[in-house]
Symmetry: D5
Subunit: 96 residues, 10 copies
């Protein structure tokens, strides 16, 4: 199952800088784990914003839910989820 997930990160001006840096390090580790196993299939930055557009490939909606809400930066995120499916016109067999 494929999903587009858009994540906007908003950090309060007075948030503790070291604590946030620590959360970012944890987020990066978790992201790379999920990328390696193919769950977090694609990620792109939105130019000029602290936002990304990602494609997730999961075995169930619940898996996606659990992955997202346990992200270290989740409490700072506004998240938009859109269910996708393969496009029948695609010439790539594994275009996910």
């Amino acid at each position: 199952m494929l999903f587009k997930v858009e994540m906007d990160v908003k950090v309060p001006l007075d948030y503790d800088v070291d604590h946030f840096a620590d959360l970012k390090r944890k987020e990066l580790e978790r992201f790379q784990e999920l990328q390696k196993v193919g769950t977090w299939r694609h990620i792109w930055r939105v130019v000029g914003l602290y936002s990304n557009i990602s494609i997730f490939d999961v075995t169930s909606s619940s898996e996606l839910h659990d992955v997202l809400i346990s992200l270290p930066l989740y409490p700072f995120m506004e998240v938009r989820v859109t269910a996708l499916c393969r496009h029948p016109s695609s010439i790539h067999d594994d275009d996910r």
Copy 2:
């Protein structure tokens, strides 16, 4: 240069069915040409809608503009364009 392009297709209820089928055939051909050369890098369907989410990889903004406005179904589309860039955390060298 990477762009996310979202395309919603709206066809008037009374539009000529054969003419539209013809335009769809042309759209499909043009899409596959662009996919083969790597310009139209990804395409996904939005579940339940006549809409897609695509990633384009072009050498200039003008190239993207020309590609989009010459699509056979362009006059039926509402299009949203977002400039993207590679995400530095990605472990894939060619994640475009």
Copy 3:
């Protein structure tokens, strides 16, 4: 996989009444087929509107896509799709 689907139906004032009645009959038949097999699990009317809120239970996103776009009244609909998952607090084992 569970999805909430909201469908608003808009019929042009000058649309042929008999043709629309015919499409409604076909929509009803298709709806009841899908309800019997459990795909279209719930449907409620929104009070005062020509709209419904439905819960679909499908084996894949693609199945939902194909079901929705082939509905006889689909060309008259504005559709909003939201991916759901079971709620862990629910005391009903089969609350879908």
Copy 4:
């Protein structure tokens, strides 16, 4: 009387973790009471969000009002209420 209720929960970043955990426990208890008596008829999670979509079956609008505003997490919620009614096409006599 049937209502769709959508609840989005927003917790301030600096809210006391233990206090919130306590409120969640009370919310869960209250939810299960209401589910057992059939008032809170259905609940689904919205994938990726701290939100749910619920169907309530109450004897009056006032009953729904009292139930909602006394939920332990109500002060953290943004709530949207939509009045529903049974759909005449439904083949299930008790589809509520």
Copy 5:
């Protein structure tokens, strides 16, 4: 059960004037019937618009649904429905 219903009427510029006048006469008759029996409890015009704000008092959501969609001008209306309940602070016993 009390509902606020807001109705905006939009008439196409080229709609047949006599036909619309006929529908307005039928709407007026129907409105006054419903007002006499207390179903359409209040109506006010929104200044400067072809819109009204009304309070309905019905025995069920389905009754309201059937009343609204059978209004002669319903096909020209955009309708917004909001469920209300008596306010406990009110000093009028029958403030509906």
Copy 6:
């Protein structure tokens, strides 16, 4: 002169409970005074929200302004004001 006024009350999570209870008592007194003299002609609760929909009957726009901004809970309110007028179709001479 008739006005619809919609009031949404938002209380910060950490607002002093006793102080707010005191303001609510004052709001209730003021509301009932205004209801007795016929200025605050109708009030209804919006189901599930801390919001009301009210009809005011005042002799001038300035009177309404002064009444609203001096409400004890006004600093917590988001207010929407819509000018109304009697509907000529109404069969009630005093439907205000």
Copy 7:
């Protein structure tokens, strides 16, 4: 009583040019009558749009309603009405 009224005029591309010119002449006459008697107290154009911002000074909401809906171009307008009152800080006694 003072009101701000914003009027946006939208003319279909294929509307009969002579008929519209005739309606504009009638609108102009009616506007100038209302301006002379002080009802249509101010009018300004919004730069670049077929829109105006006007201040009306009327004796009742109903008067404003009747004035607006009988304007020759009313069927082409989208109208927004806002109730105003004199500002107590104004040094002009007759600033209406």
Copy 8:
């Protein structure tokens, strides 16, 4: 040059009352200076809101910018600016 300026004032619930009263006094003085010289040509209150609608008559866009951002209450305002021009239909030579 004429501009419509709409100003909404929002004061945090816990803002120091005396400090704000002081800023209001300064705002009033500044407003009356600008009104005397004809820059702040009109002001009206929006009924029920802490908002005004004003007409400014300035010799340049920069003059308007400097006037607005130096208002004592500017940090509390949400401001919307719309460029206007005289309406050619107006019978008043100096309707500004």
Copy 9:
């Protein structure tokens, strides 16, 4: 005086192709006249849309109004106008 003007062009699907091509030729001529005299100071295309973002430099708001509404493609445009002024930080004396 500087203004940002955003123009979106929408052409009905069934509009006469030759007539529109003729209007585009006239629009181009008019645009280039205005560009030569410095009124239409900048123009950029929005990538993927039939829209432009332009900077106008005019001696009055009325001049801008007259220029815009007389554009050959104006009846097909949705236009948004924003008043600008020079930025005091700019190191270019003639940055308009």
Copy 10:
């Protein structure tokens, strides 16, 4: 590559005045560096707001991203980015 960037600056009422003045000085220096090298090609103030509209000319989307997120006032900004391209009708060879 050309981009329109709109920046709205929002400063909390209680932010330290000296610290913000210091950030503004750094922002000004950085802006002028970027203006000198041609990256920040144009800037205009939006009248009455703490906002600007800018045109950036960069060699890649990533360059724009890095420039924007490292601006000293970036944490106070809401930013909107739109990809542009030269307009083929322009008579200026270097209109960027």
